[in-house]
């Protein structure tokens, strides 16, 4: 079959499939998905306006996070430590931490904003999330004490283990 005929055949098949769709989805504008659209991509796509400092983050952490994650993020029986971590070569059961494992800074912003505090998820303001990210990066010596996190600076934070991964099934992507 020629390329042209193949293209025509595919186009026909595609339009036939469209015609067969029951078409019962309700249209919504992209803007109206905003309240649910909390996905942050590694290149920073989706990061909201706002900013936060390490010092602001320390206050917020003490008030809203330390009851589970311990003073300064050192951990407690109720919550994982958020500071430190053994080298990954210590063993396959090494606890994965922000400092020793996480590959992308955006993951931290995304997870705090979507899931924390555990009992009141999605109650933090975007400024608070930026401040907490700044605080936790600084506690782990990944950024300096005076750095400010915002949509521009956060994706540029270089995580120590960024290059520590092997894609298991590249042919599936």
């Amino acid at each position: 079959m020629s390329t042209l005929r193949l293209a025509v055949a595919l186009a026909l098949a595609s339009s036939a499939a469209l015609a067969q769709s029951p078409g019962l989805g309700t249209r919504i504008s992209e803007a109206d998905t905003a309240a649910w659209d909390i996905s942050i991509l590694p290149d920073g796509t989706g990061l909201p306006a706002g900013s936060g400092t390490v010092a602001q983050g320390a206050h917020i952490f003490a008030a809203k996070c330390a009851m589970c994650h311990g003073e300064g993020g050192k951990g407690s029986p109720a919550g994982n430590a958020l500071v430190g971590g053994a080298p990954l070569a210590s063993g396959i059961e090494t606890t994965k931490t922000i400092a020793n494992f996480w590959g992308y800074p955006t993951t931290l912003f995304d997870f705090i904003r979507r899931a924390m505090p555990f009992q009141q998820p999605r109650t933090l303001s975007d400024n608070e999330v930026y401040a907490l990210a700044a605080y936790l990066f600084a506690q782990n010596k990944i950024i300096g004490e005076n750095e400010v996190m915002n949509a521009k600076t956060l994706p540029q934070v270089k995580m120590p283990n960024r290059d520590g991964f092997i894609i298991r099934f590249p042919d599936r992507i």
Binding site: G25, I28, E93, K96, F101, A115, F165, I166, I167
Partner: protein, 429 residues
């Protein structure tokens, strides 16, 4: 006395010994004779045969004599952490996990979702963002398929440097298999009109963590489904009611439950669960990321830890085999710790990315044995032997808490040692 062909050490019999009638296979060179059974007592009516039975409930539950057949819970008091409920494989047969016994992992409890108010949004890199409800999806052409779902952390206790003495439920209870019915995701994506530049989609749940995973669009357009039904009834709350993503053969956590949002994107989001929890550390310190496929695996459920053999003679060895790469092609069973192997019968139907039950006739002579199974899938993948698996993936320095997850994606062998008294232990062989 019939004779049966012996195919491997310690009394493994030919897989068709009983399927076509034993005497047809009596012409064995080296045959075991099965002893005649003992004499039974004279028959008499039991009380339940002499009175009218109980009223039928609207939803029936198992017999009161089966109350021990339950899932085991890691967090029974719903403390502020994740919870696991494990399937009791050593007490089940066949290939379908009852919905009430399907494994469940929830990272922040089970949400109580009103299906009339639940919505599924498809947006991002699409021509027209759309919202679906359970009611609108129920009008779409549906498909049903058998499919296993397995947590990436299933069998994590097998990474222990010493064998943990525990049941198949405790070791492998985070996999189950069901018939799933729902709408092909490709139909919904087609209706929204996917931008050719989109390469991934982020799936997100309506649970309090808004659990999210990035999935290659390739899988979404292949055999992914928005599932509404499980074994004919609506999804159980713990399995994603009122709708979940089903990605046949892919890591359980990617099969996002309580599905409320699909966003088409051009890159993976590197969400917490994909870039942390289910990325696994390898010996030496590198880590695997995007471990989508649950690879070929099998384990013996009967007999297994917690059972006891009551006297020598005939038993059926059986278990489950499955592969995220397709159908099971072959299962071998050993009763001598891997020195010799016999091919097990595969119970039909053998379906892709679903449980296959294997069966192996066996005559136990009362001496100690070590039982193992090893599966191959139709793509030619084979379950790795433990020595080679541990060399590549490592093991712990000391035995972990059996409820902990020292690592992910174990698919090597499981070995059960039967001693001369018929007691069963978990061993590495």
């Amino acid at each position: 006395m019939d004779k049966f062909e012996v195919v491997a050490g310690n009394g493994l019999l030919h897989r068709r010994a009983f399927l076509r009638g034993g005497s047809a296979f009596a012409a064995a060179v080296t045959g075991y004779a099965l002893a005649r059974s003992a004499t039974a007592a004279p028959l008499a009516d039991a009380p339940w045969s002499r009175e009218m039975g109980a009223a039928m409930p609207p939803v029936q539950a198992p017999s009161r004599f089966e109350k021990h057949v339950v899932r085991t819970l890691s967090n029974p008091n719903n403390e502020l952490r994740n919870s696991h409920a494990r399937t009791p494989h050593q007490m089940l047969q066949g290939t379908i996990t009852p919905a009430s016994l399907h494994f469940t992992i929830n990272h922040s409890g089970v949400p109580d979702i009103d299906p009339a108010q639940h919505k599924l949004a498809i947006h991002g890199m699409v021509r027209q963002p759309l919202v679906f409800t359970a009611e609108s999806l129920s009008r779409y052409p549906m498909v049903s398929r058998m499919g296993f779902v397995e947590c990436g952390g299933n069998s994590a206790p097998m990474f222990s440097n010493e064998p943990i003495q525990a049941t198949a439920q405790a070791l492998h209870g985070l996999v189950s298999s069901s018939e799933w019915t729902g709408v092909p995701l490709a139909v919904l994506l087609d209706e929204a009109g996917v931008d050719p530049k989109a390469k991934w989609f982020v799936a997100e749940g309506a649970d309090s963590l808004a659990l999210s995973r990035s999935i290659p669009l390739k899988k979404g357009l292949d055999d992914a489904m928005v599932a509404l039904y499980q074994n004919g009834e609506r999804l159980m709350p713990g399995n994603g009611y009122p709708m979940r993503l089903l990605l046949p053969g892919y890591e359980g956590n990617m099969n996002v439950k309580f599905l409320r949002r699909i966003k088409l994107v051009d890159q993976p989001a590197m969400s917490y669960y994909e870039s942390r929890t289910y990325s696994q550390i390898l010996p030496g310190g590198k880590a695997y990321r995007f471990y989508f496929v649950q690879e070929v695996k099998s384990f013996i459920t009967h007999p297994s830890f917690g059972h006891a053999l009551r006297g020598q003679g005939y038993y059926e060895i059986s278990g489950v085999a499955y592969s995220g790469n397709g159908r099971i092609a072959k299962v071998l069973v050993s009763a001598d710790g891997g020195k010799s192997w016999g091919e097990a019968a595969l119970q039909e139907p053998v379906l892709p990315k679903a449980f296959t039950r294997f069966r192996m006739p066996w005559r136990w002579d009362g001496r100690p044995v070590v039982l193992q199974s090893r599966a191959w899938d139709e793509a030619g993948n084979v379950q790795p032997l433990r020595a080679e698996f541990v060399a590549q993936r490592g093991e712990t320095k000391k035995p972990p808490n059996p409820l902990a997850f020292p690592n992910q994606h174990y698919n090597s062998l499981t070995s059960w040692a039967v001693d001369g008294n018929g007691e069963i232990k978990h061993v590495y062989a």
